[in-house]
Amino acid sequence: MTNVQPLEPLTILIAEDSAADRMLLSSIVRRQGHEVLTAANGAEAVEAFRFQRPQLVLMDAMMPVMDGFEAARQIKALAGETLVPIIFLTSLTESEALARCLEAGGDDFLAKPYNQVILAAKIKAMDRLRRLQATVLEQRDQIARHHDYLLNEQRVAKAVFDKVAHSGCLNAPNIRYLQSPYALFNGDLLLAAFTPAGDMHVLLGDFTGHGLPAAVGAMPLAEVFYGMTAKGYGLSETLREMNAKLKRILPVDMFCCATLLCLSFQRRSVEVWNGGMPDGYLHSIASGERTPLTARHLPLGVLSPQTFDDRTEVFPMAVGDRVFLLSDGVIDTCDANEQLFGVERLQRVFAANRRPDQLFEEIEQALRDFRGEARDDVSMVEVSLLEAAQLSPPALVYSDSGQSCPLDWSVSFEFRAATLKRFNPLPYLLQLLLEVHGLRAQSGALYSVLAELYSNALEHGVLGLDSSLKRDASGFTRYYQQRNARLDELQDGYVRVHLQVAPKGEGGCLTIRVEDSGKGFDVDRVMARPLDGARLSGRGVSLIRQLSRNANWSDDGRSARVEFFWEALA
């Protein structure tokens, strides 16, 4: 008989009431290289286990004081998650008695008389099992630690991101949205901000992938969105910049489906760009009709800046109308049979909806009914058009002291055809004007008037578009189609902008003159119209007259002139 040394000696408890058997078994086990503890009954065995924690137990079934079954139960309870294999020593033969051993927590049997070879093999097998269990527990704990670590990282990342994302106006009274708290880590992104003119930009995006990779692109996207919106850039410029930035920083298989909206409360319209998102819906409350806002573009971050298409669509809106956007988590929700929730089911929810404010809840309920549980990548947002006066865009914050404020200057620009096609000079002009502290308090009106003058000069002047087209919804669409087409074909023409700032008493005066190369219009007829804000067409002129002073048109309407005044600063 050779002395077989196992890889790692175990401490083995032998519980056996017969002294001779105990002695024999101890010798066999010791010769196999293990440490031996002995107990003469079940109660001693439990005590020995409690204080010395052997790794394996050889347990006689029939013992005085406490039998092996009860001792096994107690030892298993003490061992908890750790696997302490118990091998029952038994001359029992009835299957019922053997089954009792297993029920009590036994892992194997060893029949008397003892066979050393079988005993050694069983100890080895049980030791393997014991180690396996220990490894599983260790790995489970490790996974749990990693998971906690990851969650903590996500919490930190989310806290940082929330600071960036919520610098916007998601809490504005006309926005309702629903997002799971960790939607960011499903790649969903929702941003909203006011432009200097008081329009509202909203972005619902969905990055490919999940987890941190899906979230990293969100930060630069949010920065571009907020930065450019605050400076007065339109959707096209912002989209171009976002696309170029994502294209530059994201790996090829990552991109961002997105819908970008510009809601204009003054012009009562919504401008839409949808790249790869599910259809959004423009809900007209008056007609009950829902116009789909369909994806017409590839997602952001796919195309090169040269091939990127920033063309938007513009739809008229009435006060109370709503734009509803959703992420693909809604329509791609699967039931147990891999059936998609789909657009038709969504539209059935729309059709059944009686109270618009309950729409989110009804969609969520429908998803639950369909699937049985909620997904965590469902994002929905609804933006409604209010009267412009019902919203108060936050005042812009300036960091400079005002000591270097320019007070007596003028400047002139001429923007020609090739520039008019793609460049939007308004943010630049506004930045320049807001160096004048006295104008900052009216930056919203200033921007609105400047934007209106510029788009009148470009659209009606240079492009020769007829504003009466915008009388109804279909004409509205046609108007913007023509605008895009004529802009593409534009060969010559110009828009000139003259700015003049002069001190006046303790305050000052800004004069803006905008001229265009177009055919002009019948100034007297337009001026004879009442200052009526409810119609879709001709809103521009009344807006300008309401927001600025001394507005007048000369040169057959080709030259517009307005003034802004400010008093002494406090």
Binding site: M1, A20, M62, K112
Partner: protein
């Protein structure tokens, strides 16, 4: 020959396992067996008797006391039958079996002592060289 009482192969295997402690094991078995025997005589009911017979059987098996093991096994079986049917006549059979166990132990006891002496002499011999 003693072969109907003891399994010599088991004994030599035991000696190999136990080495110097072989004689102590034999002593322990004899002392243990005496205790089991008195337990057999004192047992108050069939259940206690059966349990003692069961444990004794196991030890005998390990120690190569093949005939004693067989007798214990018969006793255990008889006890379990008695427990189930409680027939008066099998009480006699039990009495008879216990006295057979007594006499079997009386036979093997000197055999184990002889074996013990032999092993001590063996190891003394081994030590001398």
């Amino acid at each position: 020959m003693a072969d109907t009482h003891l399994d010599r192969d088991v004994l030599s295997a035991l000696q190999e396992v136990m080495e110097d402690e072989y004689s102590t094991l034999l002593d322990t078995f004899l002392a243990d067996s005496e205790e089991r025997l008195s337990q057999l005589h004192e047992a108050g009911d069939a259940k206690a008797l059966g349990a003692t017979a069961h444990s004794f059987k196991g030890s005998c098996g390990n120690m190569g006391a093949i005939r004693l093991e067989q007798l214990c096994k018969e006793l255990e079986q008889m006890c379990s039958e008695l427990e189930q049917r409680s027939e008066q006549k099998s009480l006699e059979g039990i009495q008879k079996l216990i006295s057979e166990i007594d006499s079997e132990f009386a036979i093997i006891r000197p055999l184990y002592e002889e074996e013990r002496q032999r092993s001590l002499a063996d190891s003394a011999t081994v030590r001398r060289f």
